[in-house]
Amino acid sequence: MSQYSWPEESQRKYIGKSVSRVDGPVKVTGRAKYTQDFNKKGLLYGKLVTCPHAHARVVSVDVSAAEKMPGVKALKVVQGPGKEIHWAGDEVVALAAVSEQVAEDAARAIAIQYEVLPHVVVDETEPPKDIKVASGPVTAEDIEDMFGNQVPLEEIAKALAERGVSTKFTESQLKEYKGYGVPDSIISAMRDAPVREAAAGSKSPYKRTATQQEGDPDAAFQQAATVSEGLYGMPLIAHCCLESHGAVSEWTDPGNLLVRISTQNVSGIAAQMAEPLKVPASSIRVEQQHIGGGFGSKFGPDSWGILSAELSKLAGGAPVKLMLDRRTEQQAAGARPSAYARVRIACDRQGNVTAWDSSSWATGGPTGGGMPPLPYVFKVPAQRKVHTAVLTNTGPARAWRAPNHPQACLITMAALDDAAAKLGMDPLEFFQKNIQLTGPRAKLYAEELNIAAELIGWKQNWHPRTRLTQGHIKRGLGLSLHTWGGRGHESHCDLTIHPDGAVDIKMGTQDLGTGTRTAVLMVAADSLGIPMQQINLYIGDSRYPMSGGSGGSTTIGGVSASTRRAAVDARDQLLAKVAPALKSEPANLEIVDGVVRVKGSTAGGLSWKQACAKIGAMPITVRGNNPDKTKLPDLTNSGVGGVQMADVSVDTETGIVKINKMVAVQDVGLVINEKTAASQVYGALIMGITYSLFEEKVMDPVTGRMLNPNMEFYRLAGLADTGELVVRFMRGPEQDKRGVIGLGEPPVVSPGAAISNAVANAIGVRVPSLPLTPDRVLAALDQPTANATTAGGAL
């Protein structure tokens, strides 16, 4: 009976240790090829003509001059007359030409007339209070929204029954929803929902999407010893992938397409391209070895990927490179939804949180923005939550590393921090006092809070808001905690041991730069008992066994589990072949440092090569799967906590915030590679500092265009802006036995809240919204309420 469980620490040579990433050398020497790097002979350059208006209707498109230009090989009108455009930067025409210059000349020769329509791009303003809860028919977006917001299933079913739908869901749509994991009760509610007509003329940008209540908040607020109030929020930000979205597509013959695409989802692209291109998915090969950032924005082929293939077809199959320029990338290739909320928190005399009341709003573009999971982590006994989606012309929202969590975390942890200040309590003491509200992970959070406090010097450096640092540089500390799932996704791989001892692994996954290649090799090496360098890993090709998209921190759990099962099975098959030669039973054999031997013996074994020679003429190939209920235990798990603390200095004469130090304490189950795991957390802290201090999509209220679609006034932190970063993992047998859990998202959740709280601690007043730029910091300091005794945000 094969042992699939993770090896004990004493049996591991690689797992849990620090190993440098195997693709480091090709990256630092420039040999790594990214999608942008494919410049095959005969390459055609794709170019998009985009709409400059935030909201418009296409009146006419004249491409006649462009089509006649020499060197223009393909042209397609993407959105013709009559089409309504909902954001600036949306493509209207796509073309491909023999050079970038010709493509640009052709783009300029295209004349498009628009009827400009009214737009909404600014979402920070609080929506009117009297918005009615949506009563029109439920749309597909509404359903996705409700799932995103963890609306109870009964409520979703009730909304479907009462509000109906505008068009009946087809059985194939329902099947698709079922495929996404929508439960049967909702599928049947969708099927049974009555068809209702949408009320005409409702053009308000506001849509009340949720009102939820638990317990008796009114009574709790009445009985409260203190009630703190505040306004908190963060704006729309862009993903800023350094490699923009796009693809190089070519028809290698009239029926077969090769797509090199910048993607987080190598195995999932072909199926998404098959229908629009009207070819079987099996005729589409997707390939990508390296990616310059995705952060949640690169799961689909997008219209640009499809267009690259369509233009290639029109051009007789020649490769067409269609990568977004920076302006379009920043405008249209993804935004993290904003979220703002007014929050009231009730506490009793001892500092126990008794009630939560929030009125939130958010946008993620034309369909509005969902309610983040409020209150975050803390299950406050009595709650009332009202949410309004703001429908804007700012471009479409996309998942951004830990969707909805940074928003919920900032709103909750900042509101709790203000509640502590109102009570005159140290927030560390206040969070510890209420830690039971976090549920089953309370003990772990409490422990992490203590470790983080030690690492940042909380006891020595924290001061109440009533006792600020002397001088114009004010120092402050802040804390936050977070959670995430991170269970491994579906993953399959083929592991082959050749009779000459060579080992291959093929897996349709991708390495987002997180160290996936290195982790797979570490797991395989420890499972086979040979050095990592002896194993060849092939990923990034849709012809390899399917492995899930890299999102939601699901990759490490998936790929490590499928690799483990494949390697254990392959090893056991090998041992079965070798056992007779060693005059032993397979179960009595082990492979240590490339030597196959009887367990415990130090002499008389076979080298790996000698052992593999016993396989026979044909190699051993086994498939490893995750999940696999026939090969227990479950090697991956879900649900982590984590605590972060920030130490900042605020210059009250300029409003500039500097990070002195950040501490991240993270539990994540069994760590495969300590080094790349720590890198994930460092990266998350840097990304978190960046969105806390710098990032926002600045939209011009008059023209509706993004004013900073560049890397100049859309600022990203540089190394000198990040301060000292300290990463500490919870390690040991307790964590190891949980199995492997993903780490991409959790550490990016807390920085906004921790930094905002540190700034409030430094200057004695809450800066309501991120990013904490000088204008916002100075405005908060300017408020008449801004003095050392103020607890809450400026209302």
């Binding site: 300029r108 932190a717 000088p774």
Partner: protein, 328 residues
């Protein structure tokens, strides 16, 4: 980028001959760090680029008479590392070091720095330097003006002067030498900058067929200081900067020149602040009084009130730096 002609003249006379009489006909190419970005973004589309890097030796930094003469083609990087500059003009040295990134400093020239175009985001997005909506109203006033001018902002120009080096050079009393069809001429750098009144005018006193050839900085006995308020530690435009040069009499300021950057469409000479400081020693109090005087006439356009506060800090800190007080 649109197609263009490319010329590499071998003399300044040739250079001037190749430049057109209108701004859209030609453009001077030196380091190209600003021009190429403007061309790629289709903000400007000159029909001819005149590469002046071989028009003569304008790459030297030399003491000539009572001036330090800096050739217009000296890169910002070379100038920042020049020992003469570091010794005699510490505020200039600092401003150069703080500017842009090493990659840009290694290519960008000092002449180009003085003639760079504003960073106004309406301008850079192709909406014009004095952008207007369909009704003829200023987009800057109706839109997002968080980085726009707080001084000299009565319109129609609301952008801010971008160079961080020019306020320092103005504080030191620098002049620029210009070569045109009529031969060379010299202009005090403070007079070189002007507020354009229409899209067809430039932010400086230069004809389309003239080039800046040298910068002349007088070797005066002044104590100078510089401070820029920047969000990021590196590679970021300041929200305000200030350069000061003080002629001292013992511990007392005899004469002060206080010049602010990024607050007005031109480098802003704060005469009132200089007067407020004359006859005083520089301390926290007098520096703050000077800062208040410098910004007394400032007004917010709606989103940029904070810049008034930030600019005051820049003035105060530049003064304290000049006087040798340590600053954050």
């Amino acid at each position: 980028m649109r197609p263009f002609e490319y010329a590499t003249p071998r003399s300044r006379e040739q250079a001037v001959g190749l430049l057109g009489r209108n701004w859209n006909e030609s453009a001077v190419l030196a380091g190209g760090t600003d021009l190429l970005a403007l061309m790629k973004d289709d903000v400007v589309a000159p029909k001819r680029l005149v590469n002046i890097k071989q028009m003569g030796n304008y790459r030297d930094v030399k003491v000539e008479g009572n001036d330090l003469r800096i050739g217009a083609l000296v890169t910002m990087g070379d100038l920042a590392e020049n020992p003469e500059v570091a010794k005699r003009f510490p505020a200039l040295h600092e401003a150069l070091w703080e500017a842009a990134s090493p990659q840009i400093r290694n290519v960008a020239t000092i002449g180009g720095n003085l003639c760079q175009r504003p960073r106004c985001w309406y301008f850079r997005n192709g909406m014009g330097l004095m952008p207007k909506d369909a009704g003829g109203q200023s987009l800057v006033l109706k839109g997002d003006n968080r980085y726009h001018a707080v001084l000299g902002n009565d319109g129609p120009a609301y952008f801010v002067s971008p160079s961080t080096v020019s306020p320092v050079l103005i504080a030191y009393g620098a002049r620029v030498r210009i070569f045109g069809a009529g031969g060379p001429r010299e202009v005090a750098l403070e007079k070189f900058y002007r507020v354009p009144q229409s899209e067809n005018e430039r932010e400086f006193d230069l004809q389309p067929n003239e080039v800046v050839t040298d910068v002349l900085v007088p070797l005066a006995d002044v104590r100078a200081g510089y401070y820029e308020v920047r969000q990021k530690e590196a590679f970021d435009w300041p929200m305000a900067s200030c350069a000061v040069a003080l002629r001292m009499n013992g511990n007392t300021v005899q004469e002060a020149r206080i010049v602010l950057g990024q607050v007005a469409p031109v480098p802003w000479i704060a005469t009132e602040a200089a007067q407020a400081l004359a006859g005083k020693s520089v301390d926290e109090q007098s520096a703050m009084a000077a800062a208040n005087a410098a910004l007394a006439a400032a007004k917010s356009l709606g989103h940029n009130k904070y810049k008034i506060t930030v600019a005051k800090a820049a003035v105060k800190r530049a003064l304290l730096n000049a006087a040798g007080h340590k600053q954050a």
